[in-house]
Symmetry: C2
Subunit: 145 residues, 2 copies
Amino acid sequence: MDRVKKLSSKLQAQGQKMTKQRRAILEVLSASDKPLTAEEIFLLVRERKENTSLTTVYRNLKKLFAAGLITREGFHDDKAQFQLLSDCHCHNLICLNCRKVVKIDECPLSSFAKTVGEREGFTITEHRMELYGYCSDCLQRAKKE
Amino acid sequence: MDRVKKLSSKLQAQGQKMTKQRRAILEVLSASDKPLTAEEIFLLVRERKENTSLTTVYRNLKKLFAAGLITREGFHDDKAQFQLLSDCHCHNLICLNCRKVVKIDECPLSSFAKTVGEREGFTITEHRMELYGYCSDCLQRAKKE
DNA sequence: TTTCTTGCAAAAAATTTGCAATTAA
DNA sequence: TTAATTGCAAATTTTTTGCAAGAAA
């Protein structure tokens, strides 16, 4: 659980306390290979026999987001979904069927972003990129049906 | 308003009817240079003296999304935001302060996506990329303050 | 006509807030 | 000790649904 420790100190560096509930959220997110909704996180924390409430989960997700530790999106579904921001700069390849997430280490965007920023007069601070498609498992299953 | 017509026929091709309310939503989205929430769309449609209700806006956004005409995201804010899917394959550069959106025509990702897909055993059907930063106006204003 | 769509009111779901009690630093 | 955090209950906000009336093909 080295990763959770790193995140903890990042939080504490911002003057926030590390509580059982917070650690549990980070651990749940860290153990998940796909983005989770607030409610899913709440249930997973409970499964680990940690006390918490949905309210607390919401409040903490908000803080974690503001602190830049997690990502928030609602692209392919109705509810907001949260995910740890990986320490490496990397991107995701996401299966539209099973929502499996594969990390991609390469990033072809850094130089591209620089060029575009200069041309448009922007100071570019971040970017976001995801690839979507179907993983081999889901494709095979689809063929059999 | 050629763009709206194109979108209309795409909808009708799927067996849906073209109503005043639907056209108004498409026009509002088409005229906007940034993603809008359901409520903003509702208010803008009303400003155009078209009858509608929030319910109708929600129902139509859902259909438009399912039909692949619009995008939905909740990345930098709390509410879901909607935007027309541009007919050209292009990406956005978004100012984190004023939310201005600049279209970028180039896309360095097609060949990248293909390579990664083959390596990971995915059939990649779409991708998503956005650049975020601060536009020159916002930067200058920030300096003056 | 026939089927899809609208708008209202009401319901359900998601998210936030007030406040007293608890806990980490 | 003290400032941040929790959990409950209640409030708010966002989104969805049932149903009768209205509009498009």
